[in-house]
Point group: C2
Amino acid sequence: MAVRWKVTIAYKGSHFLGWQRLPKGRTVQQEIEQLLKKIHREQVLITGSGRTDRGVSAESQVFHFDSFLRIPKEQWLKIFRMMLPSDIYVKEVEEVDPTFHARRNVTKKRYNYYIECGEYNVLESDYVYQLNRSVDLERMREAAKLFVGTKDFTAFNSTPLDIIENQVRTLREITITRQGSKVVLSFLGKGFLRHMVRMIVAVILDVGLGRMEISDIEAMFEQNDKEACKFKANAEGLRLMEVFYD
Amino acid sequence: MAVRWKVTIAYKGSHFLGWQRLPKGRTVQQEIEQLLKKIHREQVLITGSGRTDRGVSAESQVFHFDSFLRIPKEQWLKIFRMMLPSDIYVKEVEEVDPTFHARRNVTKKRYNYYIECGEYNVLESDYVYQLNRSVDLERMREAAKLFVGTKDFTAFNSTPLDIIENQVRTLREITITRQGSKVVLSFLGKGFLRHMVRMIVAVILDVGLGRMEISDIEAMFEQNDKEACKFKANAEGLRLMEVFYD
């Protein structure tokens, strides 16, 4: 009987065209499925907790797959760590109940967005947004409050309404902290829509830079259409930090 | 009359074949000289404070060049920042006396070596050595003491003796500290020989891992030949931190 495996991984987004398998080009899913095919000598598909866009990194992303091979979890961990390329790192492998589903069972996700407010940093530029100027944290925190709670995020994501009609989602918290010369925005919620975090970051950042007012955000919520917000923060600053299950 | 410019830069070593211009392949010197040639419409050579090997990064490297163009320093800064690729960052441009020499006038240099002792980090793996196990800092500090002061480093560098006969150099200090899950070895000295820091790090690390004893290092110093030490730590962990002038 097949065993279902839950796997937790980290990856460096700048090296991939994103999570999802594509007809052509290097993606995280494709790299992992390619290895699983080699091991199983047949195609084995994986199911991620959700996609990440091109350039977005993960400190902790989760997927599941089923295997008929009798390989213990310590062995899976060794195989993955030895055979996957160095920009994907398998943190944990667990045997789970066959009813576990990496996407459907998600209860919460945490995304962080990293902004370098100090001098340009050549070493971190693949995975930190290089703003290289100071921002007003208090104004940003004021702006962030508007997005917390259960809201219609139609204006703040790029999923078309004919694909997902109901764009009401719940953001549980947005915290904004300094880490050295960086500012980190941390989002906790269930169900993020496409580009939602990056669009919210762009708006909060514009407030922090004095290019936008709180009332402008209120107007965007009122307008409530796909034309309201035209910007999204760069992909490299975004990182999937954790996927939660019950 | 030509003006001599002193330029301070940072670069991401993993993207280059090293500092020095090569007949083929991407190097830091080649990228900068290529830009200066475009600006001057003739070849302009730069002189670095010294070379860095393939894979070695710099938070602060210095070079000088001479130019007949009447470009003020703020303008040079803008040109460099706009036209150099994103893995080279110009931090400062200063007009200096024509007698200033970026290599000959060096009084000290600081190199840091970064070791990740915690979990493998996909994001930092280009510029931190991934050891991913714990080390004994006290033993490492004991080992480091042997290298501080004026010593014959013949056994601990790969410059052949027929190229540089006198391999006595002075290391002013080696500090070893924890920075989160990383261990950082910081070297301050004048005149580092080729691979010297990386060979010393390899030996100190072997002591920290219990694979070598203090007496083994003493034996290497006594042997005092190019066969004594066969290892050097990986390039990616090494970073040129600062070049000092009077």
